[in-house]
């Protein structure tokens, strides 16, 4: 079974630029999460999708962050414009409908200069 795929693995941008991350969850997993992991901290949930609908985006900074999962499969997370404090690893995870365990992708490491 293929795991959660994320791209790019690394990205360096300057502040005020925009950036997009892509995630392909495990086939058949209805639930998809985006997390932000700042160095030295645990993952913090940004947004949760159930199929193509948003379940929870209460911690997503909506003035600059957006995410979509149009067909209930792949998802993209965008930051526009980026700030220095957005430097972090962005993790995507997916979960089958009736399981508790989340399966994480390798993450995208973002550095904002």
């Amino acid at each position: 079974e293929a795991g959660v795929a994320q791209s790019p693995r690394y990205k360096i941008i300057e502040k005020r630029q925009s950036v997009a991350f892509w995630c392909n969850p495990i086939s058949g997993h209805a639930t998809l999460y985006w997390y932000q992991q700042i160095l030295g901290q645990g993952p913090k949930l940004l947004i949760q999708f159930q199929n193509n609908g948003v379940v929870d985006d209460s911690q997503l900074p909506k003035d600059r962050f957006s995410a979509e999962r149009l067909k209930g499969v792949d998802s993209t997370l965008k930051i526009q414009p980026a700030k220095l404090e957005d430097s972090a690893v962005y993790l995507c995870a997916s979960r089958p409908r009736i399981q508790e365990t989340q399966y994480f992708g390798p993450g995208t490491r973002l550095l904002v200069l």
Partner: protein, 114 residues
């Protein structure tokens, strides 16, 4: 509200010795508890979980964890540490009555010395 604490930023242990990584939690209802491991430049990998049943949970790579309701703890253990166990370990909790969104701890860096 749900929260989780990992009181140690780093745990050092010699290879072959037992290891313990501590985790305490707070929830309103019954807890669902998880341990994940993160190797450098990798995503989180699931180790084990407690939902219900036996308080001692066995997981991947020889790890186990003991659920202690009275102490609200879920410490991760392994009888004999390997150098390859060196990694970042995250405890997570979610309230049974809440959403499917766990709260993660800050992480504990485990260093196993040869």
């Amino acid at each position: 509200a749900q929260s989780v604490a990992q009181p140690e930023d780093q745990v050092n242990v010699a290879e072959g010795n037992p290891l313990t990584v501590k985790c305490t939690y707070s929830v309103s209802g019954n807890p669902y508890l998880f341990w994940y491991v993160q190797y450098p430049n990798r995503g989180l990998q699931f180790l084990l979980k407690y939902i219900t049943g036996d308080n001692l949970v066995k997981g991947s790579y020889g790890f186990e964890a003991e659920f202690n309701k009275s102490q609200t703890s879920f410490h991760l253990k392994k009888p004999s540490a390997l150098v390859s166990d060196s990694a970042l370990y995250f405890c997570a909790v979610r309230d049974e009555m809440g959403s499917y969104i766990p709260t993660f701890g800050r992480g504990t860096s485990l260093i196993v010395h040869p």
